[in-house]
Amino acid sequence: MRAEAVRAGPATAIERRPASRTSTLYLFALPATLLFVVFVAYPILWVAGQSLYIRSGSGVSSFAGLANYVTVLGDPTFWIVVRNMLLWGVITIPVQMLIGGLLAYFIERHTHALRGFFRTMFFLPVVTSVSVISLVWVQIYAPYYGIAQEYLKHVGFVMMTSPIGDPKMAIYALILVNIWQWTGFSMLMYIAGIANLPSEVLDAARVDGARGWRLAVYVIVPMLAPATKSLLLLGVIGTLQTFPIVHLMTGGGPNRASEVFGTFIFKQSFVLGDTGSGAALSVIVLVVALVLSLLQIVTLGARLTPAGKERA
């Protein structure tokens, strides 16, 4: 297709030159498009295709239809993963919103000189390397010499073993680490929302007698809905790509009890070398992410970016 001059009228189009010159303007859009095609679109199409093939021991691929999907869905580990991912999202997202929102509210509305200090300190876990964080928390949870069991027994909470070594506790122990790491991000999103609340509305609410908690709950919380929706959307995508914390702290164990999509894909693809089921899993995660995201964007009008200015 030949590029043509933009016809949006003089008020909108900057460049109104002959068609031959306009085509060079497409160079502005070319690099981004190329990167997308080679490193996003092509891999997705490839993995979708590959999920339909089975590679035999001799390395020959043969078309297998949906056999890989049947295998994956029949694997009990898959359903452990689904349960863990549900727990992860359902616990992490609201708890981070709640703590992050409370921190943001008190920091923005009740501190002045120390505002920058609090904003920065609570955000530090986000910028701390996740692999460092994981190893520190392994140490915290450790039996005998970890500080969690040492200090928690003073408040009547006795831990005999490391919670990440216990199949029932492991996923919750990992979720706690994840919440700790990312709450600062929720806080910052709400800080941006609170800092930009129109002061006329707050003044009007105050004149109407809304103060303190009533002001916070009935006026501020509803007005922060855009930030909340973005956090929900980012939280769902973030949940589905969970990997480093689990890989480094439990490796999906014990006995696969804390397996998540990331570690499951990693094991199938790179440890077992089963690219067929690895590909099928990748496609499942991708489809779940796209469906959940589009659902939120359509029904809630959720936005994908923290700086919530994006227009449709």
Binding site: V6, A32, S131, E150, F243, S282, L286, A307
Partner: protein
Amino acid sequence: MTPLARSRLRSTVIHLVLFIVLGFWMIPQVYMLSIGLRTPAQAFDAALFTWPVTFDNFVTVIRDNPLGGIFLNSLIVTVATVAIVVAVASLFAFACAILRLKGSLFLYTTLLTTLMVPLASMVLPLAILLKNFGWVNTYIGLILPYAALGVPFAMVILKSFLEDAPRELFEAARVDGCNAWQTYWHVALPLVRPALVFVTIWQFIVTWNEFFLALIVLTKAEMKTLTIVPMQYSGLYMANPGALFAVLTLIALPLILLYVLVQRAFVRGLLAGAVKG
């Protein structure tokens, strides 16, 4: 109590509560530093603080490990990725918001879907692609996929800033005889500087700390970045937590320091982005 006294009391209580919460929040980081500062005899003490402190562990791990080279790997990958993301995303945002090229809105929407793709579903195909390109254990093998995954976010931010910029400026540039490239360089980029700073810092943090793809692409010791080396140190220093946590502290430190330095500009960009919500 007078209203003034009451508000002062409330402010004190809120500050006190925030400091207590922060104290708990900082435990992991304080604990990391504290273990790094211990003598071998205290290393396994189940306590947050021990006394006396020693810097021996830091001296040992700096002397025994090629941390400088690993740091350099991280720096090369991150700086190159950030530069590509900022350049490519701003060009694309300019094409969409200012030039309004035909078809650019469709492309924009297509590229946006990248933001909904979890990296977990991309590692397998990307690993195979990079293997076919012969890019395993190369900087470029990480830089280009990182850039491709980072561009859409930067592009959204930059596009919305450009759309909010006064169009008369771009009109004036055209009347003055600027071509599109000159307008991009001399008008558009200076106008969206807070957004460029914000995007640069965020992309820097994300790239510096990326783990999953780096784990798969970088298998050779001399290519590894800071995020993927802690694992090998946890094996190496299993019996010597003091040294392990000294190394972890050193690995975490550069980005923490950098963030503290730029946090003001970062938050300013974030606030400016939301201001016309």
